[in-house]
Subunit: 335 residues, 2 copies
Amino acid sequence: MTTLTSREVHLKSRPVGTPTADNFTLATVEVPAPGAGEVQVKNLYMTVDPYMRGRMTDRPSYVPPFQIGEVLQGGAVGEVVASGDPKFQPGDIVSSMWGWREAYVAPASTLQKIDTHGMPPQAFLGVLGMPGMTAYVGLLKIAALKAGDVVFVSAAAGAVGALVCQIAKIKGCTVIGSAGGDEKIAYLKEIGCDATIDYKKTKDLTAALMKAAPKGIDVYFENVGGEHLEAAITAARPFARFALCGMISQYNDTDASKGPSNLIQAVGKRLRLEGFIVSDHPEQQALFVKDMAEWIGSGQLKYRETVDVGVENAAGAFVKLFKGENIGKMLVKLS
Amino acid sequence: MTTLTSREVHLKSRPVGTPTADNFTLATVEVPAPGAGEVQVKNLYMTVDPYMRGRMTDRPSYVPPFQIGEVLQGGAVGEVVASGDPKFQPGDIVSSMWGWREAYVAPASTLQKIDTHGMPPQAFLGVLGMPGMTAYVGLLKIAALKAGDVVFVSAAAGAVGALVCQIAKIKGCTVIGSAGGDEKIAYLKEIGCDATIDYKKTKDLTAALMKAAPKGIDVYFENVGGEHLEAAITAARPFARFALCGMISQYNDTDASKGPSNLIQAVGKRLRLEGFIVSDHPEQQALFVKDMAEWIGSGQLKYRETVDVGVENAAGAFVKLFKGENIGKMLVKLS
C-alpha cells in the first residue's frame, strides 16, 4: 500500500455572476495509504452539475456552502487501489461524493460499491446516477406523468432533460423540447421529441410554445426559469403540473431575478408548481434502476456524454454548463 | 302570481385598472310571473367577490367573461315569491347565481333550496357558502394542513382569510395574519391570530414575517400576490405548501405584474404552490357543512360581515373590495 499524489480543485473565491476559471485553483496533495476502515481510491470520472453553483454562494440551503480555500465536493466514480476495510477490494468500482480530485482516502462508509452490470462506470454519474434519477422522480412522481400528457422540457438536451424527454416518450406522451443551437435541436429530434424549440433563435418563446402545443401543455419539467417558466404558465392547460428541478438561467443572477409575471394564472388554471430534490426520494431508487436498465437494454433510452479530460480542466467543464456547451451529461475523465 | 319590477346592475364598460362606479349602470326590468318549471324570486342579499374582477376582462378563463350591456352574475340568496315548479314554495329561501338584481324568474334547476337551520340566509353567501368552503378546501385539502404548522394568511381579515385563520387555530396551528389598518388588525387578534402584520405600516414585509415566524412558515394561504408572495417564499420552511386562492393585488394591473423574484427557492426548499378553485371540490361539501356548523355552534368560529344596502350601491361595494374597505364578507342587502 503506497501513498498517491492527487491534484484537486479548490474554491479560490466565490463567483459573482457566472463563474470563471479564476474562481478556482489547483492544488497537489499526498493521499496516504488507508488506515483501518479506510479505502484509497483513484477516481476515474467526476461530474460537474449546475446545482454546485448554489454551493459556491455563502447562504443557507439544503447543502452547506463550499468553503474558500478548500477542495470542492461532488459525485465521482473511481477504482479502489488499496483497502483497510474488508468490504472493499482493490479493483472495486465505487461511487462517492469525493469528486474534484484525482485520488483520495476516505472512510469506507462514504463509498458505495457499484456492480456495473457491464455498463461503463461513468454511467453511474449520469443516466444511472443522480441526473437519471432526477429525471425519473421529477417526471413520474412530482409531475405525476400520465399517458397522453403534453410535456414541455427546458434544457432538454442536458443530462436531466434528455432523459425526461425519452421517459415521457416511453410513457406515451407528446414531448416538446427546448434547447439552444442546431446540434442540440438535432439531438432532440434524434431522441424522439415531437417538437423542438431553439430558444436562441426564438424571439417569443411563449408564441413558439403555443405553436408547438396548440392545445396547451399538461406537464412542464423546469430546468431553466425566466422566460421558459413564463411560457409554460401561459401554455399550461388546467391542472397542469410543473416539476421544478432547477432554474439555471438564474443561478448567476447578481440582481434580483425576474419572477414569472403571469403566475396569477396558477389560480384560475389550478396549476401545481412543486420543487424537488432527488435525494428526498430514496424509495424510488430500486424502481428507477429496474426501469432504466430495461429501457437502456431494449434501446428505448439513449444517453450522451460530453467529456473533458483532466482535473485541470474540471473548472472549465463546470463553467461550460452555464454557457450551454454540453450535450447530455457533462463529465471530466480523471484517469 | 304577479309581475315584479327589478333593478339590476349592467356592465357598462370593461374596467381598465381598478373598477370605478362608471363601469356599471343600473337598469330597471320587469320580472314576469313564473311559467311551468320556473320560479320567481326576490333577492334578500347578493355577494360581491374579488374573483368577479376577472370576469370583467374579456379573456379565456374558467368562467366566461361578463358581456358589456348585460346584467352581471353572482351569488345571491332570496325568497321565493311564486313558483311554477312543485319543488319550490313561496317563502322558501334559495341560493342562486342570479345576483346583481333585486328579483328574477329562472328555471327551478338553477336554484338551490336552503335549509337555514336557524342561520341568517346571508351566511350562505359567506361562512357557509363559497368563501367558507374556499377557506376550508384551500387550507385542509390543497395546503394539507397539519397540527403544529405555522400558517401565514394574507388578506386575513377578508371573507376567506378570517375563516382560514380560525380553522387553522382550531386545527392546532400557529397563525400569522396580514391585513391593512388598525381595525382589521384588532379583528385578527380577536379571532385568535398569534401574530399580525399591518402591511400598510410595514416597509419590509419579508422582515416583518421573519420576525413573526422566526422558524419559518409551513403553509401560506395566498389571497394577495406580489410582495406577500415573495415574503412567504423567503420565510418558507422546507416542504411548505402554498394554497393559491387569489392575488387581489394584481387583479387590476394594467402592465405586466411583477412575479416573485425569489421563486427559485421553491426548488431547494421543495415548496409546493398550488392554485385551486373551490367548485372543483364538491366532495368536500358535506364535511365542510358538518365541521362549520359544529365550530359555529360551539363558538370556536366567528364571522363578520360588511353590509351595504341597496342594489344601487352594489357596484360601490364591489369597488370597496379592492380598496380593502371590508372586514369579513362584503354583502349587499337587497330587501
